[in-house]
């Protein structure tokens, strides 16, 4: 029996999504923003090494520290999402696995961002 699909319907969805450039640029922008944020993070962690729970709480409670930590988490989760996505696109070829991995990356990054930001806010505003 002849195929009932039109030639157009057979090729729909097989081409480029046409938003690769914006993903590429936002990955680089996040990378640039990560440079000072990583430096802040590393210097802070070395400087506070071995501190007690109360001392860490007092450190995070400082407005500038809370804000920088939140920005760091939001920025690296964004960079991580597009970075891991690129790795999956290059090495995972079966459609099902690629879909599952993509969903896991997006949900995982959202979970990391949500939990971390909530924790920072809870420390910052907690009694």
């Amino acid at each position: 029996m002849a195929d009932m699909n039109t030639p157009l319907s057979k090729v729909r969805g097989l081409g480029s999504a046409k938003d690769g450039t914006s993903v590429w640029i936002s990955h680089r922008v996040a990378a640039i923003a990560n440079i000072p944020l990583v430096l802040f993070f590393v210097v802070s962690f070395v400087g506070n090494a071995g501190k007690s729970h109360a001392e860490w709480v007092a450190w995070i409670k400082q407005p500038l520290v809370s804000v920088l930590l939140i920005l760091f988490v939001l920025n690296f989760t964004n960079h991580m999402r597009s970075g891991l996505q690129e790795v999956v696109e290059d090495y995972v070829h079966s459609h099902g696995n690629k879909f599952a991995a993509t969903i896991a990356i997006k949900f995982g990054c959202a979970l990391i961002a949500g939990l971390s930001v909530f924790s920072i806010l809870r420390i910052a505003f907690g009694g």
């Binding site: 990583v38 090494a49 071995g50 109360a54 991580m80 990391i112 939990l115």
Partner: protein, 131 residues
């Protein structure tokens, strides 16, 4: 219908493995490894928000031999990804493409990450007073 065997385009096997190839694949490996670091950072922040008892338990695990080994690995991954990431930004801007600069900058990322990782750990031990 028999088809003449066509020449294939050159692939990985025709290139000699060098620093530029190592830094490229290690950038991806360290990037993926840092996802583990992100999970641990989240856990640590949740621990502080939860309270001092739970925090002390997590700190105890981080301070164990295995914990320190993992954290040392993550420190190296972060510094290596940081250095090769900046190298990539230069390449995105069209720099570092001639053979000498490309190889030299690739090698430099490994020197940078090794030295920085050791410096960070020595400094952290100094801060805690263990050194």
């Amino acid at each position: 219908m028999a088809q003449a065997k066509r020449p294939l385009s050159p692939h990985l096997q025709v290139y000699r493995f060098g620093a530029h190839m190592a830094v490229s694949i290690i950038h991806r490996i360290t990037g993926s490894a840092l996802a583990v670091g992100a999970i641990l950072l989240t856990w640590w922040l949740v621990a502080i928000a939860t309270g001092h008892e739970y925090f002390n338990m997590v700190q105890g695990m981080a301070g164990s031999m295995l914990g320190k080994l993992v954290l040392f690995g993550i420190t190296f991954a972060l510094m290596q990804h940081f250095a090769s990431g900046i190298r990539h930004l230069f390449m995105d801007a069209g720099k570092l493409f001639d053979l000498k600069a490309n190889t030299a900058s690739a090698k430099f990322t490994f020197v940078f990450s090794t030295v920085m990782t050791l410096l960070i750990w020595v400094a952290a031990y100094k801060v805690t007073g263990a050194l």
